[in-house]
């Protein structure tokens, strides 16, 4: 469902960004809606961080239009409504967790009380700990706390749960979900499929600076009717790469896993090259498989066009 004009929080229109001769984005269109979690998915170097950087004003577009709450991203009134968790964010080493949060929250007139931020980020027990004495995961929680402390209408999270244990991840997902449910727009740049699947209302798959797919998680999975075939063979994996329909071959323990768009043709061909084939299992592809397939198909099309 295309976002309606009134609910658009942030948008890129025809945005182009190049580093030297390398064009990361070329005429990129993208909009974020209030009350929804949008996950940006894609391989490394796909342009995820560039999209997030342009929307937040961290990067400047070479051309095209960027708007944040209808303003320039550099406008302080726009920044006052945004909370950001950068991929690498340092903390003031000698301040305590509570002091660091309180200082940052003080930039926002609509700030949350420090105690509430500590609680939501799961940091209450660490409030008086100095920031230079935190583990990696604890420091990420403080960065998350800095992102939410200003009660933002737009929350931008770049790989937020790196270094988290499963329980801490769940807790953060719940808080993010609650923010979206109370009207915030959330942009989540990640390469964890489970994170996108658990959290996002909408997944935007990008690779090489282009949007390959855009829709709810279920639709992304369905868009590529990919099937995974698991089988046991004595032949090396290389023999299976050229089979009809196969886009990816992986070793999984003693088995091989083939990702295919044409399961029947792939299976017939597999039996043809190894009649002793056994132990096979056919399943619907996971979101991760669907993504790999999308990116692969896109690269192939580009090569053929070139």
């Amino acid at each position: 469902m295309p976002p309606t004009a009134s609910s658009i929080i942030a948008a890129l229109e025809g945005a182009t960004k190049a580093y030297g001769a390398h064009r990361v984005l070329d005429g990129f269109d993208f909009a974020l809606e209030a009350g929804s979690v949008t996950a940006l998915l894609g391989p490394n170097g796909a342009g995820k961080s560039t999209v997030a950087g342009l929307l937040t004003g961290r990067l400047r577009a070479d051309s095209g239009r960027v708007s944040l709450f209808g303003l320039e991203p550099s406008d302080r009134l726009a920044r006052a409504r945004m909370g950001i968790m950068l991929q690498s964010g340092g903390l003031p080493e000698t301040l305590t967790v509570a002091e660091a949060i309180d200082l940052h929250a003080g930039y926002f007139a609509r700030r949350l009380p420090t105690a509430a931020v500590l609680e939501q980020a799961g940091l209450t027990a660490l409030a008086t700990r100095r920031c230079d004495r935190l583990s990696g995961g604890e420091a990420r929680k403080v960065q998350f706390a800095l992102a939410i402390c200003g009660a933002p209408d737009l929350l931008v999270l770049d790989e937020p749960t790196t270094g988290f244990d499963p329980e801490a991840r769940r807790t953060m997902w719940d808080v993010v979900r609650a923010k979206a449910d109370t009207g915030a727009a959330v942009l989540l740049a990640t390469h964890h499929m489970d994170e996108a699947e658990a959290l996002a209302d909408r997944i935007v798959v990008i690779a090489d600076g282009r949007i390959l797919a855009d829709g709810p998680p279920a639709a992304i999975k369905a868009q590529v009717a990919a099937t995974a075939i698991r089988l046991r063979t004595r032949l090396p994996a290389d023999h299976f790469r050229a089979l009809p329909g196969v886009v990816k071959v992986e070793s999984v323990g003693a088995d091989l896993s083939l990702l295919t768009t044409a399961p029947r043709a792939s299976l017939e061909a597999a039996f043809a090259i190894d009649p002793a084939l056994q132990h096979f299992e056919v399943t619907g592809a996971s979101l991760e498989d669907a993504l790999a397939n999308l990116v692969h198909a896109n690269r192939t099309t580009l090569k053929e066009a070139a």
Binding site: L77, S88, G89, L91, E99, Y107, F108, R110, G150
Partner: protein, 251 residues
């Protein structure tokens, strides 16, 4: 609308300044040497080696007050900004609604506070060593020493915006020593070879030292513009150096 979203600037400036002061105060390994080095050197150079001469104690106090701001200003700004820039803290603040100047004002406030501690120790040592100045002379001396913070802080800022942490510390050290020695803060530039003396005119430390000497009646005050003019130009150049460094941050 403005006030509904953005916190009032004076409160942000005050809180940021306070945070900056406690951040440094909690790093005693950094702040104690920075503050204590100038008074310690003063006790050695002027008081112990000056053999009780009130004139040496007064002359040296004037130039050591300038020396005392260089540590907090060059290292507090240069190395600190480099660290905060490298680890992303600066970027997060830049993307927040924090007023752009708050960071700089806060660091200036911290530098001023720590310089003041150093001044107080120096002045106490000076008085013990026989420095006798009128109230007006003290007031002028404190003013010159406090104003000295600005050019050095701007230079430190320009270094911190351009270099990584290690590079910034290394360059700040070189600048620190060159300013002290070639600027005649430890001993008059007359003792240096003539070629090296010429450098002094390009250094803010030299002009500030000369103006401080005027404040305590050791130089002709009629020559004020001879030093205030070049100092103003150098400060302007330092401001440009810092500002262009800051501009480089937005990509």
């Amino acid at each position: 609308m403005m006030s509904a979203l953005i916190a009032p600037a004076p409160s942000v400036y005050a809180r940021e300044s306070w945070a900056e002061i406690i951040k440094s105060a909690r790093m005693p390994q950094f702040i104690i040497p920075t503050i204590a080095l100038p008074p310690a050197f003063y006790a050695l150079f002027a008081l112990a080696m000056g053999q009780g001469s009130a004139e040496v104690a007064t002359r040296t106090l004037a130039t050591f007050g300038v020396f005392a701001v260089m540590g907090p200003a060059l290292f507090g700004f240069g190395a600190n900004i480099a660290v905060e820039r490298e680890n992303g803290q600066l970027e997060l603040k830049r993307l927040s609604p924090m007023p752009a100047g708050a960071q700089i004002v806060a660091k200036l406030a911290a530098t001023t506070v720590f310089s003041m501690v150093s001044f107080a120790m120096l002045y106490a040592l000076g008085q013990a060593g026989g420095v006798a100045l009128g109230a007006g002379q003290w007031a002028m001396l404190v003013t010159v020493h406090t104003l000295a913070i600005l050019p050095f802080a701007l230079i430190g800022l320009g270094i911190g915006y351009r270099l990584g942490q290690k590079g910034a510390v290394a360059v700040a050290n070189i600048v620190f020593l060159a300013m002290a020695v070639l600027g005649g803060l430890w001993m008059p530039i007359a003792v240096l070879p003539e070629v090296m003396q010429a450098f002094a005119w390009a250094l803010p430390s030299y002009h500030l030292g000369e103006i401080a000497l005027m404040a305590v009646g050791q130089r002709e005050a009629a020559n004020l513009w001879l030093h205030a003019g070049p100092l103003a130009l150098i400060t302007l150049a330092a401001a440009l150096f810092a500002w262009t460094g800051e501009r480089q941050q937005a990509r």
